[in-house]
């Protein structure tokens, strides 16, 4: 603590609200609050430097371990030297302004960027200790182990049953019809959809409501027994009630799967995740426990973003 007893010189007239009792105080004297010591608030990014990632990027026994990942779309450097682990049985939320690279980074984890012409991914991405870019790697198998749920629900134009059974059939996960029935039932139960569709499994998946379609997509994803579920703004097309059900489902699923979720909603990130990573202009600015990130972030850019001081 500063023990100086020197008088502090206020930069201006004394505030009228602190006038001593008994002293003459004009009845209509305006309150005179000091302007912010930091100066104009118009652009608090001035001088803010990203620098190395703040916080601990590693976790114990990660399911994904990413080191120095860079992504270029042609000449555009979309992801800049990002290192980040995804932990088992926890939800990692990735937040940041539009165009910051969070969805691009998410797509690296199941090599979805391979489908984009001109995309180039460098760095190391290990799934359970194995490099996902090994030349001998079966990318179809990878995408079964690392499932993905997208922003817009995209059920196949098939029956509800066939939507869920498609993946297990493709990967040979069921030895009999009975096994397949059991797998479909279990997946729909885990996705919280069974009670609503058990009597109409032969009906088209596209006939369901938005929230139901998204849960069907989640059931389809978990039917192939993934290690990780990636979610790219899974609730942005849903109403608040459907969103709440999906978030509740995420909380249940994290007991079995590692989940990485990209979201524009900071409140959603705060509700569903245990770790939060903040991206800005392709860099990972800060990562840490969600409750700390939202109560006491360490990087000014993180603070400015989550408090709505820039977008």
């Amino acid at each position: 603590m500063n023990e100086s007893t020197s008088t502090v010189t206020a930069p201006g007239p004394a505030p009228a609200v602190i006038a001593a009792a008994g002293e003459e105080r004009p009845p209509d004297a305006p309150l005179n609050l000091r302007p912010a010591a930091r100066g104009p608030a118009a652009n608090r990014l001035d001088g803010a430097v990203i620098g190395p990632t703040v916080g601990t990027v590693t976790v114990v026994d990660p399911v994904f371990s990413c080191r120095d990942v860079n992504v270029h779309y042609g000449a555009k450097h979309a992801i800049r030297g990002v290192s980040l682990d995804v932990g088992k049985r926890q939800v990692l939320a990735m937040i940041g302004p539009s165009g910051c690279g969070k969805s691009t980074f998410l797509r690296c984890l199941n090599r979805m960027n391979d489908t984009i012409s001109g995309a180039r991914v460098t760095g190391q991405i290990l799934l359970d200790g194995e490099d996902i870019h090994d030349p001998g790697r079966d990318v179809v198998q990878l995408r079964a182990r690392v499932g993905m749920v997208f922003q817009k629900p995209n059920p196949f134009p098939k029956s509800i049953y066939d939507n869920v059974a498609f993946g297990p059939r493709l990967h040979g996960l069921a030895r009999s019809r009975a096994d397949l029935d059991e797998l479909v039932c279990t997946s729909l139960q885990r996705a919280g959809l069974w009670d609503e569709v058990k009597d109409r499994l032969t009906q088209s998946g596209t006939g369901l409501s938005g929230g139901q379609q998204q849960r069907l997509c989640i059931a389809r994803t978990i039917a192939v027994k993934p290690h990780v579920i990636l979610m790219d703004e899974p609730c942005s097309a849903l109403d608040p009630i459907a969103t709440a059900r999906i978030e509740d489902l995420i909380d249940e699923l994290r007991e079995s799967f590692a989940i990485a979720i990209v979201t524009h909603s900071m409140q959603q990130a705060a509700r569903v995740s245990q770790r939060t990573a903040y991206f800005h202009l392709g860099s990972l600015v800060e990562v840490g426990e969600t409750d700390r990130i939202f109560t006491n972030p360490r990087h000014r850019l993180t603070e400015d973003y989550i408090t709505g001081r820039f977008g």
């Binding site: 500063n2 502090v8 602190i18």
Partner: protein
């Protein structure tokens, strides 16, 4: 510190909360000064003024609490904004308690429980000056969001505590010399204690200002 949001209305709401806490602080300071003057001059009129204005101070505190709830419910504040809103509400609570201590002093005069002697009055005046200065400095720190000013309050409260202890010893010495005025002694001890508590509330408010200014969580220290 409270401004700079993209939403200017949020800036305005936070600034409004800040202003209301400062207004409450100004009234609390008035109350302490008036009560101290009433005690040292044994002025029933000033004492009654303090008691009559107590509900105004409490009303300001209630309004601040409601504003805090509304801000949290509607704005979902996080990080520094959330800490600032919580800290401002805690400061308001400390100001409310400082006002309550001033009221205790004023009621001593109204109850006419025995006018203190010259020595006790002098000690009370001295403690009142220290307590009032602390409270004023704390409010200046709040106005300027100045952690260093607030740190001065925290330091100087120790002086007030030491002066209170010395004043209490002198009071007890006089009581031993004149045991027939024990009731006056007891009331005087309560008044001195109230002034010391006002210093504590100023210090606790300063602790919250340090929290806002330095963005470090500080726990409230137990009252001496």
């Amino acid at each position: 510190m409270l401004e700079g949001h993209i939403s200017k209305s949020f800036d305005g709401e936070l600034a409004g909360l800040h202003i209301r806490v400062l207004e409450m602080g100004g009234l609390a300071l008035d109350q302490v000064r008036a009560a101290s003057r009433a005690y040292s001059e044994w002025d029933v009129h000033n004492a009654q003024l303090v008691v009559d204005r107590e509900h105004t101070l409490t009303g300001l505190g209630t309004r601040i609490y409601d504003d805090q709830l509304t801000l949290i419910a509607l704005r979902n504040p996080v990080a520094s904004d959330l800490r600032a809103i919580i800290a401002l509400a805690k400061i308001a609570a400390e100001l409310d308690r400082a006002g309550a201590e001033a009221c205790k002093i004023a009621r001593t005069v109204l109850q006419q429980s025995g006018r203190p002697g010259r020595g006790t009055s002098s000690d009370a005046r001295h403690l009142a000056n220290l307590a009032t200065a602390l409270l004023r400095l704390s409010l200046e720190a709040l106005d300027q969001m100045d952690g260093e000013l607030a740190a001065q309050v925290i330091d100087r409260d120790q002086d007030l505590d030491a002066e209170y202890a010395a004043g209490l010893r002198r009071l007890l010495t006089r009581a031993l010399e004149n045991p027939l005025r024990l009731d006056v002694t007891v009331e005087a001890a309560f008044a001195l204690k109230a002034l010391e508590r006002i210093g504590d509330h100023a210090r606790n408010a300063a602790l919250q200002i340090v929290t806002m200014a330095d963005q470090v969580t500080v726990r409230r220290q137990p009252a001496s």
